[in-house]
Amino acid sequence: MKKSLFTVGVFVKINTRRFFRDKLALFFGVGFPLIFLFVFGGLNSGSSDVSFNVALINESTTPFSKEFVKQTEDSKIFKVNKDVTTLDQAKDRMTRSELDAAIILPKDFGSVKQDAKFPSGEAKIVFTQNNQQSGQALGSILDAQFKGINAKFVKNETPFTVASQQLNERSLSAFDYTFAGLLGFAIIGMGIFGPVNVFPELKKMGILRRLSTTPLKVWQYFLSTMIGQAIIGLMSLAIMFAVAIAVFHLQVVGNYFELAVFLVLGIITILGIGLALGGWAKNERQAAPLSNIVVFPMMFLSGTFFPRFLMPEWLQNVSAFLPLTPIIDGIRLIATEGKHFIDILPQLGLMGIWMVVIYFIAFRVFRWE
C-alpha cells in the first residue's frame, strides 16, 4: 500500500509541475475563468444601486439652474451623460436605449419672475415608449427633490409623510449568485474539459498504453489526477476569490476551511465526469460531442451564468438534481451566507451520491487505448 501511494505521489508531483510549465493549461485553468469573472462581474457590479442614464440639457443660464445641474451630476441616482448637449442627440441615444431619459431645463428655469420673491421653473422629462417606467420613476424622483427645494422657499404644512429606513442586514446581491456560478464554470472547465481534451491525445500517442504495460493501476492514475486537480483547482479558485473580494467587493462571511474542503469535494465530483468521458473516449471525435452533450445543459441548468430561481418551477425541480447544482448552491451558502456543513447536508448528500455513481462509471468505462 505504501508503495502504491508512493507511485501516486510521484505522479502528482511531476504532473503538477508540468501544469505550471504549460502556458496554455495555465491560461485555461486560471486566466480563462478570470476573464469570465471580469466580464460577468462587471455586468453585475453596482446593480444594487438603481441609477438612471440621463442627458441633462440646460438651456438656462441662471445661478439656480447651474446649481441644480451640479447637484444632479453629483447625485448617485443619476448618471449624467455629458456628451449629449442637444435634444436631438438625446433622442438618438434614447432610441438606442443608451439613455433612459433626458431632463430639459428651459431658458427661464430658475429665473426670478416679476412680482416673485424666489426663483421658479419647470423641468421637462423626455423619454421613449420603451422607457416609460424609468421615465415615470425619474419624474417622481425629481418631483420629490423639487418638493424639498420648494419647502425651503415656501413654508408648507405636510400632514402626511413617508419615512424610509434601510435595514442593516445584508441580502444576496446579483454578484453573489454570479460568482458562485462562475466558480462552477471554472470547476467544469478544469474537471471536464481538461481530461476530455488530454486523454484522447494521450491515447493517440500511445502514452496511456505504454503506462498499461507497467503495474500502474487505474485507481492510482485516477487518484493522482484527482489530487493534482484539487491542488491546481484550489489555487485557481483562490485567485478568483481574491479578485472578487478586491475588485467586486465580494463579502465572504463563511469559514474558509469549510469552503476549501467543499471546493475540493466539488472539484473531485466534477472531475469524475471528465475522467469518465475522457477515459472512455478512444479519440477526440468521440470525446468532443459527448462532453458537449453533458456539459452545456448542466452548465446552463445548474445556474452557472444565471441563477436557477429565474427558471420555471418544474425546471428548477429537475435541475436541482444535477451534479453541479449542489456544488454551486453549496459554495454560495458557505461563502456568502455563512452556512456550515451541518446546514448543507442535502447538498453534501447529493454530491456524495453523484460521486459514487460517477466514479463507478468512470472506473468501468476507462480504456488505456
Binding site: S4, F6, V10, I14, R18, D22, T213, P215
Partner: protein, 253 residues
Amino acid sequence: MTAMVEVKNLKKRYGDKQAVDGISFSVKKGEIFGILGPNGAGKTTTLEMIETLRPIDDGEVYIDGINVADNPNQVKYLIGVQPQAPAFQDKTKLIEVVEMFAAAYGEKVDPMAFLRDVDLEEKANSYVEDLSGGQKQRLSITTALVHGPKVFFLDEPTTGLDPQARRHLWELIEKVRSKGISVIMTTHYMDEAEVLCDRIAVMDNGKIVATDTPKNLIKQLLKRGFKKEQHVEQANLEDVFIDLTGKELRNGQ
C-alpha cells in the same frame, strides 16, 4: 534449463481473421530473438499477448515460469516494453520521465544512472519534446529497464532512424543482452536481424514458417539449391555512407 519465455500453441482471432494461428517458440535467458514477417503477419498481436496487453484466446505463455494469462500483474514486473513509436507527455524533463516510470513499479531510482546508460545524461533537464527520434528511442529503452526486467520487448525499434542512430541502437540492444536480459524484437530490416538476432522466427499469416539462427536459415535455403546472381562485392552502399559520414551520432540525435 527452462526457457525464459515459453510460448505454446498461441492463438488470437479478430472477427473471421485468425491473426495468430497456433504458434510456439521459446527464448533463452540472454538471447536476442527476432520475429520477422510481412505487415499483418501477426507479429505485433503476438507480442501484445505475451506482454499481457491482449487477452489470449488459446494456448499458453510462460515468462520465467509464470503463466501470463493467470498472473498478468506479476508478469508486468518481469517485462519491459518498448512501443513502436515511443511518446512521452510534453513539458516533462527526461529525469522526470525516468522517475515516473520507476514510480509506476513502486521504485525510486537514480535517474541519472539510467540516462547515462543510453548517453542522454547531458539532456537530463531537457523536455522530451526537444529530443530527436533516436534520442526518444533511447529514452524509451531506458524507461523500459528501470525496474530490472528479465525480458525486454522491442517493436520495430529502428524504423525511421538514420544509419548512425540505428547502429547506436544495435549497440544498446547488445548491451541489454549482455546484462542477461532476454530480448524479443520485431523488425523489417533483414540486415538488422542478421547482425543482432541469435535466433529468428519468420511469421506469415499468423503462423511461424521457420525458426532458427540466421546462419542456419541461409544454409538451409542454399541447400535447397537457391542461387542468387553472384556479385563479389567487398562493400555495399551503407558501408560507403558510414565511411563518408562516420559512425558517431549527430547533434540532436
